[in-house]
Symmetry: C3
Subunit: 332 residues, 3 copies
């Protein structure tokens, strides 16, 4: 964790990850008491949210603290660029919002996952990083187009609960179809933590749906150092074979980052990228994971999502637990 | 109450109703203590709300619990149909939202009163029933087009406070004018509870504004069994004469359920369906009730709404008390 | 304070102001304990808000109380005019909303700063005053087009912290440019409290941006009685010279109150009305104040806003402290 922010899983060392997940395991199912009494977490959502919003609020409340929720409906437009001459639509600079909120509360969470320009710009997480720069309190990434570290923590916690040890275990991260272009955040973040955990990772997607190359290369290196591996394939069948964890999710095309129509057209021929019972049967009795929300019968069939290998609700439930651990580390 | 949900007043036995209202009377004006400490109620509003939202939040907070409020602005569209191939606008299935929220909180309240199709469809309360089916925690109906049980509980509590015993007492449920087509929820639910209480009910409305026939027939039967009666008239003057309670509210036309313009046209000739002092003078010194919000000087005049027979704010205040009782029963 | 409302700084006596700010100073940085346990404050926002929303919620929570937040997205339209025949868009009368909310909570805050008609109408604060009239609990003004008393309290608290005594001290209230027409609320309210504090006030603005004349004349009188003075100038340079406090903010033109395009056109020639280091150098080492949000490099440059004379974040932080004091006075 850089400073006391939690912006990316790429910042975590293996020891920090272990500490965080060990703490999450200890607080799970227990009420660790009112350890955050008097603490306030401000949550700023610039996109809709169900799990993130509710799991953070529940986490704070159960620890004795309080959440203040702001959505883009409550707010005016905010300017993230330094030295901007603010004669446009933005009513306030992120600098001032971040510094003001730092005077009122004890931490800030920011969801800022919309597409604002070309990928080379969006991968820089300008709005989030601007909050982190100017806030004097810890800032938590609640998802950008580039990263969703809280989701990945919950995912790895869920894998550990089911597989005990992750080193050398076979994880397939599988692209699946979706009518809308989606963030690459969950994919990048779980890839990074699986690499850090030394898993044997197969990343599978159709041509044109490559993940960010810097994330990919760095994850390969990290996986190798941790006793694991990372390969990329464009064949769903080959990717699923022998997997111990099948992690399905759609993500947007970096290539067509600002041409949603083009991406939609390409995806019309990719409807077979959907997890079904046949595919699951070729795995090594794999856990089925998906970070939700999921497009049922498009990304994966009801049969597999509701099947006995599915741990999708465990992933969701673990959001609250890992976030309690995170908040305790950042705020206590 | 089916399972531990609270979806409809039609599910209540007389003994259950008495228990609930007795508890509500006991907690009214008292602070029953922090009996719901650590409990979380999630409220999902797909339409605006003032009383329901605030009365539930106050009820939870005063019992030591916590509310998490989500409105349609915070959320994406949700799919209620099972086995749907989710390639449209809905980003998540109610199944997944309900199961996820069940992992985070202790109960869910759902307001889903919009018109989504023909009456035969809307009367099935698809979205609410879907939450109730998939949630593993109690689900509370915060109003559909078909039912508004929490409002009716507060209404009956208010009648009891003023009339002591309801059996055989004369209640007139009176349609009144309104520029917009409204839900039938409050009308159906108060009709059901008045029937269960053995009141002598007169339901009065213009032709074309009949309530749901199944609700009507069942309520007639229940009223009869409880020592009361239920008659329908289309004459406002006749309906008001001798009433001990005049309960005014507009509701939409089932006949024109998907033709708001047609309904509006019909209502142009119905402006006399408005409660005023003249009408009140023909009653037996009746209580004036209305569940709010009320269109002043359209549905009822200022003089009667602000008059000494009016108990409209008592009804609103009792929302908090009956809901405390309900939450204590469902969550303790 | 009229009744127990807090609607305007014009209602405060000097003794009341001192009491409030003395209490604010005592609670600042301390946790005065859970003195508002069981109390609920309802906040109604008809415009976006960051500081007001968060500072009130933090204030209530840290005093052991609870905030219920409603925004125009949660609500339908409300009718403020008495005796209205409500056959238009407004679904509920302010009378009924105010009386209902008074049954649920212990105080109400209202932000209603939009332009709804000519200045002679908007200066009457119809929506706010309507809530104050009908609510039986204290009502707090969270900003109208005419007044923003909570901001002014925080501003005067900040001045006192830095200058100790305000009597006879030189304050320049300086209009500055902004792409949008803004409320006159903060300007009027700080003018009134500075006058009450006996400051030597220079109000500086371009021709056409006069403040409300009644506020101006009354403030002149109050300032004189308190040992201070109030002059109006149309020359920014002259106004800044020798100032001990330079309080910058844009406000809208009463003259062009309902012609935003005309105001925007006029302001195109007023871009020099911007605080920069050169201007600051002519002051008597003045504090730089601005109530936020600020248009950086339009109203004031980054250099002065981020400079060592700037107390803009102190002003924001003091919102929470003065509001704690206010809530303790109104609710304890």
């Amino acid at each position: 964790m850089s400073k006391r922010d939690f912006l990316s899983t790429a910042d975590l060392t293996r020891a920090e990850l272990d500490d965080l997940l060990d703490l999450a395991a200890r607080v799970k199912g227990k009420r660790p008491g009112q350890v955050l009494t008097g603490k306030t977490l401000g949550l700023l959502f610039f996109q809709p949210s169900l799990r993130t919003r509710v799991s953070f609020e529940v986490a704070m409340v159960q620890l004795g603290g309080h959440c203040i929720n702001l959505s883009s409906d409550d707010l005016y437009e905010l300017e993230p660029n330094e030295q901007a001459v603010m004669d446009g639509a933005a009513e306030e600079h992120v600098k001032d919002a971040a510094r003001t909120l730092s005077r009122y509360g004890d931490a800030l969470g920011i969801r800022a996952a919309s597409r604002t320009g070309p990928w080379q710009r969006d991968r820089q997480e300008l709005l989030l990083r601007s909050y982190a720069k100017f806030a004097s309190v810890p800032v938590i990434n609640l998802e950008t187009s580039f990263a969703h570290p809280c989701q990945a923590l919950a995912d790895v916690m869920t894998m550990r609960e089911n597989l005990v040890s992750l080193r050398g275990r076979k994880l397939t991260l599988l692209w699946c179809n979706h009518p809308e272009p989606k963030s690459l955040g969950p994919t990048h973040s779980v890839l990074q933590l699986a690499a850090l955990s030394g898993m044997q990772i197969t990343l599978a997607h159709p041509l044109g749906f490559e993940v960010d190359d810097e994330v990919l290369q760095k994850s390969k290196q990290v996986a190798g150092e941790a006793g694991g591996s990372l390969q990329v394939v464009n064949d769903m069948q080959a990717a699923a074979r022998g997997a111990e964890v099948l992690y399905a999710r759609s993500w947007g095309s970096i290539k067509h980052w600002h041409d949603a129509e083009r991406e939609a057209m390409v995806k019309r021929s990719l409807t077979s990228w959907r997890v079904d019972e046949q595919l699951m049967a070729t795995t090594n009795n794999a856990l089925l994971m998906h970070p939700l929300p999921v497009r049922r019968n498009v990304a994966a069939t009801d049969a597999v999502l509701d099947g006995k290998q599915s741990v999708i609700y465990e992933q969701a439930a673990n959001r609250a637990h890992v976030q309690k651990a995170l908040l305790m580390q950042l705020l206590k």
